[in-house]
C-alpha cells in the first residue's frame, strides 16, 4: 500500500518559512490537489515529497517507509514538471523510457513500455517523433507518460496544465483524471486553478502562507469552507462582515435567524458571512436588503447582477431563463437563501 503520510513538515529558506508544520495523510490511490495562491508553499511541499528539497523539520512516509534518508533518485516517484522538462536530445519513446534506461531495463521492454504508455495517453505510434515536432498538448501527454513509466509509488505533477490554453486544459483535466483512475496511482497535483482542483481531485488541500487551510473533498470545500479565505478562493462568494451573537446573524442592518442547513463556523462575536452568488435572490424592492444594480454581466450560461448595498458589493447569479426584468440603476431587494449561509471566523 502506498499511502502517503506527511508529518509535521516544515521548510525554511533562510528566515522565510515556506511550509509551516504541515501534516496530511493521502490514502492509497487517491487523487489529491494542492491548491492555493502563488507563494502558499504548495510547490515546496511537492518538491519535498520528490526529494528535490530537504525538509527543515518533519517526515514524509510512503507506504510506512520514512523517506528522510532516501535521495531523490531512489524514491521511485514519477513527476511532471511545470516546464515539462522533456529532453530535446531524445525522441518521444526515449523520453518516456528514460527512467527505465536508467534502471538498466532491456531494450525490448523499454520499447514495449513506451508503446503501451503512448497508447494510454492517446499518442499511438508517435514514439519516433522528436520533442520539437510536438504540439503543446502532445508534449503534455508525453510528460505524463514519462512520469508513469516506472509504475511510480506516487505520481507528482507541478502545475502540469498551466501552459495549455483554456479549452485544451479542461480536456486534459478530464483525461488526466481518467488515466489516474485506470491506474489507481496515488497522485498529487499542484495547482492554483480551483476549477482544475474541483474537476480532478478526490481530496483538495487548500493552502495559504505555508499552512493547510482546509483538507476535504471538493464538495466539502465548496459547501462547507473552513474559513473566509477558503470560501473566497474556491468559487465566487459574497463575503460580508457580520456579528454572530449565538442567536442570530446581524448583517447589513438585518438580523437573520439561522435556518436548517446554515453553517456557523465561528464563535460568537465579529465574523464574516459567506453567501455564494447563486444563493442570492433578487426581487423587486421589498423586505430584503435594499440594493441598487450597478452592472449586469450576461455570460449566456448565467447572468450576474452586481449590486451595491450601502458600501457592500453583492453579486447575485441567476439562470438565463429566470432572468428578472431589472436594468442597471434599478432598486432591488436581495435575500440570502436559508440553509446556504455560512458564518466564518
Amino acid at each position: 500500500m502506498t499511502e502517503l503520510r506527511i508529518e509535521g513538515l516544515s521548510k525554511r529558506f533562510g528566515t522565510y518559512l515556506a511550509l509551516d508544520d504541515v501534516s496530511i495523510t493521502i490514502p492509497n490511490g487517491k487523487f489529491v490537489c494542492l491548491l492555493g495562491p502563488s507563494g502558499c508553499g504548495k510547490t515546496t511541499l511537492l518538491r519535498l515529497i520528490a526529494g528535490l528539497e530537504t525538509p527543515s523539520e518533519g517526515r514524509i512516509l510512503v507506504g510506512g517507509t520514512d523517506l528522510s534518508a532516501v535521495p531523490s533518485h531512489k524514491r521511485g516517484m514519477g513527476m511532471v514538471f511545470q516546464s515539462l522538462a522533456l529532453f530535446p536530445h531524445l525522441d518521444v519513446a526515449e523520453n518516456i523510457a528514460y527512467p527505465l534506461a536508467i534502471r538498466g531495463t532491456d531494450r525490448a521492454t523499454r520499447q514495449a513500455t513506451a508503446a503501451r504508455l503512448l497508447d494510454l495517453v492517446k499518442l499511438p505510434g508517435m514514439g519516433g517523433r522528436r520533442i520539437h515536432q510536438l504540439s503543446g498538448g502532445q508534449r503534455q501527454r508525453v510528460a505524463i507518460a514519462r512520469g508513469l513509466a516506472i509504475d511510480p509509488k506516487v505520481f507528482l505533477l507541478d502545475e502540469p496544465l498551466s501552459a495549455l490554453d483554456a479549452g485544451l486544459r479542461e480536456h486534459m483535466q478530464i483525461e488526466l483524471r481518467q488515466i489516474q483512475q485506470s491506474l489507481g496511482v496515488t497522485t498529487v497535483v499542484v495547482t492554483h486553478d480551483q476549477k482544475e482542483a474541483l474537476t480532478m481531485a478526490d481530496l483538495v488541500i487548500v493552502m495559504k502562507d505555508g499552512k493547510v487551510q482546509q483538507a476535504g473533498t471538493p464538495m466539502e470545500i465548496y459547501h462547507a469552507p473552513a474559513n473566509a479565505f477558503v470560501a473566497d478562493f474556491i468559487g465566487n462568494t459574497n463575503l460580508m462582515p457580520c456579528r454572530w451573537d449565538g442567536q442570530a446573524i446581524e448583517v447589513l442592518g438585518h438580523r437573520l435567524a439561522p435556518a436548517e442547513g446554515d453553517r456557523i463556523a465561528a464563535a460568537p462575536g465579529l465574523a464574516q458571512l459567506s453567501v455564494r452568488p447563486e444563493h442570492v435572490e433578487i426581487a423587486a424592492p421589498g423586505t430584503g436588503f435594499a440594493a441598487e444594480i450597478t452592472f449586469i454581466r450576461d455570460l449566456g450560461e448565467s447572468v450576474h447582477f452586481v449590486t451595491r448595498c450601502g458600501a457592500q458589493v453583492i453579486t447575485a447569479q441567476v439562470a438565463p431563463g429566470a432572468r428578472p426584468p431589472f436594468g442597471v440603476g434599478d432598486a432591488v431587494s436581495l435575500s440570502f437563501r436559508p440553509g446556504k449561509r455560512v458564518v466564518l471566523a
Binding site: 520528490a50 526529494g51 528535490l52 531523490s72 533518485h73 531512489k74 524514491r75 521511485g76 516517484m77 514519477g78 513527476m79 514538471f81 511545470q82 516546464s83 522538462a85 529532453f87 530535446p88 536530445h89 528514460y98 527512467p99 536508467i102 534502471r103 522528436r130 520533442i131 520539437h132 514519462r146 513509466a149 516506472i150 507528482l156
Partner: protein, 285 residues
C-alpha cells in the same frame, strides 16, 4: 492584390552593405593579395616578383613542414580540449551561484582578457623558471630535491594557451548554460539518475552545440598564437604561425609565408567545418 509586400524589418536591409563593404575592403582584398603573393616568384636574396608558380606550395609538402603543421594543430586541439573540459564544469557551477557572485566572477574573467599575450607569456616563464619559479616552493616543502625549471616545455606552452583560451570558453558557454532549465536536471534526478548520470546523460548532450562553439573558438584563437610558443615552448613546439613569421620577417620569403598562411587557413576552416558538423544538434532541423 498580386503584389506581395516585402516583409518589414526593424532595420533597413541596405544597412548590411556597410559591414559587407568593410569586410570586402579589409579582409577579402588583403586575402586576395596574399593569394597572389603565395603564387609569386621568389627572388633569392631579394623580395619577389609577380608570377604564377606552385613552388611555395610544393616546398610545403616536405616532412618537416608536415610535422610543423601536425604540431600546430595538435597543440591547438589539445589547448581547446583542455579549456572546454575545464570551462564546462566551471560554468555549470558558476551558473548555480547567486547573481552577484556570477557578476563578480565574470568581471574577473573579463579582466583576464585585458592581459596581453606578452604579459601572460613573461609571467608564466618567470613563474615556471628555475631561479624564481614554483620549483623553489616545491623544493622548500620537500617535494623535489632542488629547484628546477618547468619552462620551456609543452606543459608550459599549454598552460599559457589555456590561460588565454579559458575566459573565452567560459564566456561562450555561460549564456547557454545559464539558460538551461534547472527542471531538466531535476527531472532526470527524480527519474532515477544519479548526479553524475544526469550531468553526462542530459546536461552534456543538451549543451553539445555550446561545447562545440567553445571548442572551435579556443582552437582558432590559439592557432594564431605565435608569441607563446617562442616564449614557453621548445623549437619543436613552434607552431605554423611562428614559422610564418620566421619566413616572412627573418627569411624574407613572403611567397612561402603566404602559402603557409593560406594552407593554415584552409586546414583550420576544414576542422571548424568538421567540428560544427559533429556538434550540430540532432533536434534542431
Amino acid at each position: 492584390m498580386t503584389h506581395l509586400a516585402e516583409p518589414e524589418t526593424a532595420v533597413p536591409r541596405w544597412i548590411a552593405l556597410w559591414p559587407a563593404l568593410m569586410l570586402g575592403l579589409f579582409f577579402l582584398v588583403p586575402f586576395g593579395i596574399m593569394l597572389s603573393v603565395s603564387v609569386a616568384h621568389r627572388v633569392e636574396g631579394g623580395f619577389f616578383e609577380p608570377g604564377f608558380e606552385w613552388a611555395s606550395y610544393i616546398r610545403f609538402l616536405t616532412p618537416f613542414f608536415g610535422r610543423v603543421l601536425a604540431v600546430s594543430l595538435g597543440i591547438s586541439l589539445a589547448a581547446a580540449a583542455i579549456c572546454v573540459v575545464l570551462a564546462f564544469p566551471f560554468t555549470v557551477f558558476l551558473a548555480s551561484m547567486s547573481r552577484s557572485v556570477q557578476t563578480r566572477v565574470l568581471v574577473v574573467l573579463l579582466s583576464v582578457l585585458s592581459l596581453s599575450e606578452v604579459i601572460i607569456g613573461f609571467s608564466l616563464s618567470t613563474l615556471l623558471s628555475q631561479t624564481a619559479g614554483i620549483g623553489n616552493l616545491f623544493a622548500a616543502i620537500g617535494l623535489i630535491d632542488a629547484p628546477r625549471a618547468y619552462t620551456p616545455s609543452l606543459f608550459a606552452l599549454l598552460t599559457g594557451l589555456c590561460y588565454l583560451g579559458f575566459p573565452f570558453a567560459v564566456l561562450v558557454l555561460y549564456a547557454p548554460v545559464s539558460r538551461l532549465d534547472p527542471e531538466i536536471v531535476e527531472a532526470a534526478r527524480v527519474m532515477g539518475a544519479s548526479a553524475a548520470r544526469a550531468f553526462f546523460g542530459v546536461v552534456v548532450p543538451l549543451q553539445r552545440g555550446a561545447l562545440t562553439g567553445a571548442f572551435i573558438l579556443v582552437f582558432v584563437f590559439t592557432l594564431g598564437s605565435y608569441l607563446l610558443p617562442q616564449l614557453l615552448g621548445r623549437p619543436g613546439h613552434w607552431t605554423l604561425s611562428v614559422h610564418i613569421t620566421d619566413q616572412a620577417i627573418y627569411q624574407a620569403n613572403l611567397p612561402f609565408a603566404a602559402a603557409m598562411s593560406v594552407f593554415l587557413m584552409l586546414v583550420a576552416l576544414a576542422l571548424v567545418g568538421l567540428a560544427s558538423l559533429a556538434g550540430r544538434d540532432r533536434g534542431a532541423a
